[in-house]
């Protein structure tokens, strides 16, 4: 078996393995992430208001909505 084929087989095995990723942080291990202090924006109106005080004074806009918060366990 050529080196290329060996690498191909290894890559295929890794890809197949990736399809069945097991969560390395189990649901019962997410108590810290579920703590309210880990939330990005507990007060939704306030968070948006503060962001946009800045956007009214700055040339920059957007991108500040954090993609995620909490832990997916509540």
């Amino acid at each position: 078996m050529s080196t290329v084929m060996k690498l191909g087989v290894i890559a295929a095995v890794l890809l197949l393995d990736a399809c069945s990723i097991q969560p390395w942080v189990k649901p019962y291990e997410r108590d810290r992430l579920a703590d309210p202090i880990m939330s990005w924006d507990r007060d939704v109106i306030s968070g948006a208001y503060v962001d946009h005080i800045y956007e009214s004074r700055e040339g920059s806009r957007g991108g500040t909505g954090a993609a995620g918060g909490g832990c997916g366990c509540n």
């Binding site: 005080i53 993609a67 509540n74």
Partner: protein, 408 residues
């Protein structure tokens, strides 16, 4: 006439500000949840009050929000926001007097969950005397990889109508100047890295087209033979297209002694030549189960837009001209504190619990090429500063927020 122009100018300033607020509110609602998108958030009712003072402006905001689940898969949220502005920013005050006005915004948002996917639809209507705006928004979030990863995609379409008050503060006469359309594309990934660390990346592209200039603010140009100040004033002219890209990365870490530390960085660029950097650090410390104390510091800097100048060499010196504070080179720094108190831990009647918050922030703004022509000018009373030699402008602003939430 000068007072009329000023009154209208500040109104427009408010319009622009809250046009963005609306989008941000949508984004926040959308993106604050993906980690928990398999379950809808708690039912809640919020009351919010804010007061911003700084740079000659006093803006108060009042808002109510109600969120209610109608099943395990479907919920509705309604929000009403009203804000009142008095005073005006420096570039407005340098031309005329102060103003008063208000803006009203209504938003309704629907969430639907199917398996590990959450769909969100929302509609926002914002109205004030010389500016109206309507926005439709759609997004979906998908949990994957054992709910360690959440991907969010969003799209908003906004239609605005831009006007100018050609009357007075007491007898307004609005002349509608044109329309603007805005489309926002959002993509985000949230990733649980360890039992104590969560990270996220957000990409947001906004594309505007139409009447984007501020019809009230003026540029100034050198005119030594002019009205005694050494400069003349002319209308701003903006390009009629604008596309911006913002990318933000953030992380939050749970410390060993029950506290949290966070960091975020955002890079911004747009087709008007503005490049911005934002970095923010936060710290959260609970005290028993009753209090949560938070502190944050933020730093921001940007260069100026390609068609911005504090003083143009002569009238009509280039196609596009602007002298808007937002587009000037600037730096600002913020320090803020927030205290949240949890009450009714055992519930009361229909309520499960409640929280009350007080948030105080101070922001110091400093401009690198925006000069204070209100207090300093080429007159004996103004210090005899030649045009373009006036001191650079800076100011501080303080923001108070009071927040009451009841969960049921």
């Amino acid at each position: 006439m000068a007072a009329v122009a000023t009154e209208a100018t500040a109104v427009f300033v408010m319009s622009k500000r809250f046009r963005i607020i609306r989008l941000g509110l949508v984004a926040t609602f959308l993106l604050a949840r993906p980690g928990g998108s398999a379950v809808l958030p708690d039912d809640r009712a919020d009351i919010f009050y804010s007061d911003y003072k700084g740079g000659g402006m006093d803006i108060t905001g009042e808002s109510v929000l109600v969120r209610k689940k109608f099943s395990e898969n479907f919920s509705v949220e309604a929000n009403y926001f009203i804000d009142k502005v008095s005073g005006a920013s420096i570039d407005v005050l340098s031309q005329a007097s102060v103003i008063k006005d208000e803006r009203k915004q209504k938003n309704i948002s629907l969430d639907y969950i199917h398996d590990k996917t959450q769909y969100n639809f929302s509609y926002t209507d914002s109205a004030e005397r010389d500016y109206t705006s309507n926005t439709l928004h759609f997004s979906l979030s998908q949990d994957m990889f054992g709910d360690l990863t959440t991907i969010t995609l969003g799209f908003s379409d906004s239609r605005d109508k831009v006007g100018e008050n050609d009357g007075s503060a007491f007898v307004p006469r609005v002349v509608w100047l044109g329309h603007a359309e805005s489309r926002t594309y959002q993509a985000g990934v949230s990733q649980i890295v360890t039992k104590s660390l969560i990270t996220g990346v957000t990409l947001e592209v906004i594309s505007d087209e139409g009447y984007l200039a501020n019809p009230y603010r003026s540029v100034r140009y050198l005119d030594l033979g002019g009205g005694g100040l050494g400069y003349g004033l002319a209308s701003q002219v903006y390009p009629n297209t604008h596309t911006s890209t913002a990318v933000e990365g953030r992380a939050k870490y749970y410390l060993p002694y029950r506290a949290a530390a966070s960091v975020s960085y955002r890079y911004f660029s747009d087709t008007w030549g503005v490049r911005g950097n934002t970095i923010e650090l936060g710290y959260t410390q609970p005290i028993s189960n009753l209090w949560i104390l938070e502190g944050r510091v933020r730093h921001y800097n940007q260069n100026h837009a390609t068609f911005y100048s504090d003083l143009f060499p002569f009238a009509g010196s280039q196609n596009f001209v602007a002298r808007d504070q937002d587009l000037a080179a600037q730096t600002n720094n913020t320090i803020g504190f927030k205290a949240t108190y949890a009450f009714l831990p055992d519930g009361w009647k229909i309520f499960k619990r409640g929280t009350a918050s007080l948030d105080v922030s101070h922001i110091q703004f400093k401009y690198d090429d925006f000069r204070n022509i209100k207090d300093y000018n080429d007159t004996p009373a103004g210090g005899n500063y030649a045009p373009g030699a006036e001191p650079l402008y800076s100011f501080g602003a303080t923001v108070y927020q009071i927040y009451l939430s009841m969960f049921f």
